[in-house]
């Protein structure tokens, strides 16, 4: 029995990566859920919006580095992030004006808007490929670790090391800031309140003089900011590849639906639920269990419930279970 070592191994391989991944999914899911709550459709172009914002941030980062600007131990990409957000805001507002506005005025059914968003997805995917190509890009610079496994072992004298990467801490911190800002905005400001009113009851909101165009514009701006942030954090933590971002759509939607579509709190909870389930179910528990079990009972296999390639299956299974037993999600979401 070696409880401490087991705990450290658990933290190193499950908890810390899960926390960072969960924060990334949560911010992504917040964007999806905002669109759903206010514009009332599932935005399939969200993954590619994230990719676009990240691509601009990467280009800007390269430019900043070339100019000799750096952010000390932190990744330069954080300095470039506002530019990425700005560019994404311009793009989504343009697309809204060119594409979505027409269907809003027509009061088209949500499923038509979903198909329209499929078209936007293709276009954005094309734009990202034009702009930055299809390669795998790593753009994290600055200090890689806050504490490496070796330093941790030397410090504590334990057999297991706990490595915490800078990007993981940044992810969690930035995610917390973004969430705090969002909730402050939604609950305290006039525009935020009118957005919530619009989401709750569109007709009543219109009747009380809320300007729908403004609400929609602000929503797109927030969504662009959230999508870019989520994309940059994911890219810093892992790497940027246009196709991977497209595939993120599935866990992000799963997170938003599990939490209850249209409910921001739910999206955050959903993000962590999906992330931790993915990590725990696809992690090989042998290491942790060897510390916990008496020697005679030590597992000889990897004790991995599912191979990592099946991580989609995990988000999917959770999605189905929640939908079958609690159709509006863990937190009460909207049902159209």
């Amino acid at each position: 029995m070696d409880f401490l070592n087991a705990l450290v191994a658990f933290a190193n391989f499950v908890f810390v990566p899960g926390l960072a991944y969960g924060a990334q999914l949560a911010i992504g899911a917040l964007g999806v859920t905002m669109i759903y709550g206010i514009l009332r459709f599932s935005n399939f172009a969200h993954g590619d919006t994230m990719a676009f914002g990240t691509a601009v941030t990467i280009k800007m980062t390269a430019l900043l580095i070339a100019m000799g600007v750096s952010f000390g131990p932190l990744p330069t990409a954080l300095l470039a992030l506002p530019f990425g957000i700005g560019a994404t805001i311009v793009l989504v507002l343009l697309i809204d004006w060119l594409v979505y506005q027409f269907y809003r005025q027509q009061k088209a059914s949500p499923v038509i808007l979903v198909i329209v968003s499929m078209g936007v997805m293709f276009v954005m995917n094309g734009i990202v490929r034009f702009y930055i190509g299809v390669d795998d890009i790593r753009f994290a610079d600055g200090e890689r670790f806050i504490i490496t496994a070796r330093e941790f072992r030397d410090l504590t004298g334990l057999r297991e090391g706990l490595a915490i990467r800078t990007t993981q801490v940044i992810t969690v911190v930035v995610a917390l800031i973004a969430m705090a800002l969002l909730f402050w905005f939604l609950n305290k400001t006039r525009t935020g309140k009118s957005m919530r009113a619009f989401s709750d009851n569109e007709d009543l909101a219109l009747l009380s003089g809320i300007n729908p165009d403004w609400v929609v514009k602000v929503t797109w701006m927030i969504v662009a900011a959230l999508a870019t942030t989520a994309g940059v954090l994911y890219g810093l933590d892992k790497s940027f590849k246009a196709f991977t971002y497209f595939q993120l759509l599935l866990p992000i939607f799963a997170a938003a639906i599990v939490g209850g579509l249209g409910n921001p709190l739910g999206a955050i909870a959903g993000g962590f639920v999906i992330a931790f389930s993915e990590v725990t179910i696809t992690y090989a528990w042998k290491k942790v269990l060897t510390y916990l079990m008496p020697e005679s009972l030590e597992p000889d296999g990897l004790v991995q419930l599912l191979s990592t390639d099946y991580k989609f299956a995990v988000s999917f299974a959770i999605l189905i279970i929640v939908l079958l037993f609690k159709p509006t999600g863990l937190f009460k979401g909207q049902s159209v």
Partner: protein
């Protein structure tokens, strides 16, 4: 212009495009496009059944297409007796156990009440999972260890590959039944996400379960329903006939096999199109559209909405499965790594929407037309970029950039076409009548 003339003209346009391709780029490329176009048309018919007839939002087309591809391997390749001896029975027993677990869990859900139900279901699922892994895993390891460089899987039944087309349909139908049973009650966008996930899972299974179809090691050299070019070139009779047509034997043999495929595919397309037309114009088809247009009213009229949805979901997926098997047959290999949702799900959707959802001829037209564009956008884009950048100096960064970016024109163009059609002609080129 009457609708019939218009429709004929549109199909004429596709024919002109294909013939033009043949004259400019060679008949080989034209036939390649035609063959994949025919397969795409069948996929589009399948999606049109689900979306056009019944309004089911299935974006897991890729999964069903891949299952069809799996069928070709399971039907046509030679069985591997050593692998069956090593662990085939264990794998089968494991799969049966897994299926029994699911059935038992579903029964527990149906029969039991309250807390007992939850606990029983959990015990069955968790216990069943470990039991399944305990039986299945050693079998899997043993099978995959048998000559992994060339087989490492259980192999197939060594039957004619044409038989794999209907089998592909059956496999897809079976998967659709399971998915439909669980997910069809969901709202349209939930169903969409669910099917998107299923497709990814099917691809993950194909990539990772090496005992099934060798995973990412791919299965190459599948049987062919048409003769091999090399055999034709060595056949004196064929060479003589080619010479009498003024063709050299190599070109003649490639054209001959491609035309063979085209004939086979056209037959399948016509059968499915005929069936779909019959279905659309039957009382069943009218009921389907009634359900699509107003579920509540249809239900009030005593129609079994859920049952009908399940039915058409299975039928549409089966059609996609058949097309998938045909495509893998045409490729001659199963490469799970090449299945991508943009190409195999969303592109098919573009075909259906552009062609005209709810109209079978529209789906066929969309399939052929969009496939032609998909192939040709790249050379066209390259030509365009060459013209646009002709004023720039050779080797300038911008010029290189522009020419390089032509490779990414496809997705962008498809998106723009989809958006334009949705905006200005939302019912498609050949609208529903």
């Amino acid at each position: 212009m009457s609708t019939q003339v218009r429709d004929t003209a549109l199909f004429g346009l596709v024919a002109v495009l294909l013939i033009g391709t043949g004259m400019i780029q060679g008949w080989n490329s034209a036939l390649l496009i035609l063959n994949m176009g025919l397969i795409s048309a069948i996929m589009a018919l399948g999606v049109n059944l689900q979306w056009g007839f019944a309004g089911l939002f299935n974006i897991g087309v890729m999964g069903f297409v891949a299952l069809g591809g799996l069928a070709t391997v399971l039907v046509s390749t030679d069985p591997v007796p050593e692998a069956w001896q090593a662990g085939g029975l264990r794998i089968m027993a494991g799969l049966v156990l897994g299926a029994l677990t699911v059935v038992a869990a579903v029964q527990a859900q149906k029969r039991l009440e309250g807390r007992v139900k939850t606990i029983a279901t959990l015990v069955i699922l968790v216990g069943g999972f470990f039991l399944y892994r305990a039986v299945f895993d050693p079998g899997k390891v043993a099978v995959e260890a048998v000559n992994p460089a060339s087989t490492g899987n259980l192999g197939g039944l060594n039957l004619p590959i044409l038989l794999s087309w209907p089998v592909g349909g059956l496999l897809a139908a079976g998967a659709a039944w399971v998915i439909g049973k669980t997910a069809l009650g969901l709202r349209s966008d939930y169903l969409a996400i669910a099917t998107l996930g299923i497709a990814e899972i099917i691809i993950a299974v194909l990539k990772n379960e090496d005992w099934l179809a060798r995973g990412v090691k791919n299965v190459i050299g599948l049987d062919r329903p048409v003769p091999y070019e090399i055999d034709l070139q060595q056949d004196p009779g064929f060479v003589e006939r080619a010479a009498s047509l003024g063709l050299d034997p190599v070109t003649a043999s490639t054209l001959y096999t491609k035309i063979g495929y085209a004939i086979l595919f056209t037959i399948v397309l016509l059968i499915i199109l005929w069936l779909a037309q019959k279905a659309l114009n039957s009382p069943w088809g009218r009921m389907m559209r009634a359900i699509r247009d107003n579920e509540t009213a249809a239900e009030a009229m005593g129609k079994d909405v859920k049952g009908r949805h399940l039915q058409i979901f299975i039928l549409g997926s089966a059609v996609c499965g058949v097309a998938g098997a045909m495509m893998t047959t045409l490729d001659g290999q199963l490469t799970p790594g090449t299945y991508q949702p943009l190409r195999f799900t969303f592109l098919i959707w573009v075909m259906v929407i552009v062609g005209g959802s709810g109209n079978n001829f529209g789906a066929v037209l969309g399939g052929m037309l969009i496939w032609w564009l998909w192939v040709q956008v790249e050379p066209l884009g390259l030509g365009l970029m060459n013209i646009l950048s002709s004023g720039l100096a050779d080797g300038s960064a911008l010029k290189d950039r522009m020419i390089e970016s032509a490779a990414h024109m496809r997705l962008f163009t498809m998106g723009v076409i989809l958006l334009l059609v949705l905006r200005f002609s939302p019912r498609g080129l050949i609208p529903e009548r």
